[in-house]
Symmetry: C2
Amino acid sequence: MAMRKKRTNDPEGMRRRVLDVAEEAFQARGYHASSLGDLMAAAGITGGALHHHFPTKKALALAVIEERVAAAVEETWIAPVRAASSAREGVRAVFEAVAAELERQGYVRGCPLNNLAHELSLADADFRVALADIFAGWRRAIADKVRADQQAGGEGGTDPDRFAALAVAVYSGAMSMAKTAQDAGVLRECLKGLENLQLSPGRLVGKRRRRVLQRQIIR
Amino acid sequence: MAMRKKRTNDPEGMRRRVLDVAEEAFQARGYHASSLGDLMAAAGITGGALHHHFPTKKALALAVIEERVAAAVEETWIAPVRAASSAREGVRAVFEAVAAELERQGYVRGCPLNNLAHELSLADADFRVALADIFAGWRRAIADKVRADQQAGGEGGTDPDRFAALAVAVYSGAMSMAKTAQDAGVLRECLKGLENLQLSPGRLVGKRRRRVLQRQIIR
DNA sequence: CCAAAAACAGGGTGATCATCCTGTTTATAA
DNA sequence: TTATAAACAGGATGATCACCCTGTTTTTGG
């Protein structure tokens, strides 16, 4: 009697399921608190399959960062800001949408990028660079939108890079507090502050100073 | 021949040394990445001594949060803001001082409170509450200073709670980026934005809404 | 059709980790 | 002085973890 297929090889699907589970676990419990055994059980896969697609836990986390976290920032922040009528309106809309979503679901897991950035930036240089690149792209998208507004005649008194840094900082910090308090209200509070924000133009004396610190990853 | 003292019991000193190395390790590597073996070796103590003062790792972390992290926020933020000529000046001075210190030491370890908040808030309710209390005290100190400024005739158009939330959020978020980029420049960039901040008064229609989300700690 | 590689299964392994336990030394109180 | 508790020493233990290895099944390329 002929044996039926015991397995259906589906490498893309398998890889996607692993990333799904890992993204979820790293967001909810963090990198170190998520064991590969947990992930294997949650994804319903074996150690051999996991090791085939991601030889180490670090490789898996790097894939989560570069593919999933970056995509989440793109979807949640960059695309909406680009599509908005202005940078200010885009930032406002994202804050509003995130606050509404958090209140709807009833708990706050925090920002995926900031969550991993805090846990992994000092642990490994590859992690740190990957995460820093996402922050940079996030800020650049907002600053570019401000510059586009200025080309269109608006936002005369706003320094694009400064506004972008402030928007990302306020969101990151507000989300940190919201997660710790399990209360999304601080997001709305901070949004109101940002809405009333007036930014004087950056003084144009010389290029913006940028002092990169010497790297030193501890132990 | 008489045996000399083999040991000098010093419970306070022992406890302090454990907290010293734990504070340092949790800040540099995080809670889960710091093993009790590492801490014992760094502090030069035995397992028996550690277990005597802190029966579990969680108890040790809780002590670090309640005694050391809270004290760090008090020393770095609350006391300087209270002593400043105004809330705005206090916030400015702290940003400036922290940025200068980071540039001096050449690397960025991030904010102790935010570091632990991100890793532990969702992991354990006791951790979360202890960390949320520190955030609350931090914001309250700044808001109180704004109210004092208003009693003295200044800051007429600023909502105290809103300004405090924004200041803490900007600092937390800027520090997150500074840590990930290993570059303190974003702190100065965000400070400039805060300096030019104008906050319209909060509308006084009714009490400030505060919607506390139902608790749901994952797994 | 037939190798060769890719995809997956599943048990093993050494290391690490938090906690516990028994015993010894030091301080305290009666 | 003496009993009692606190303070510390140091090894034991069971669980967990990331990674590896061998073998089997499926797909692919010639």
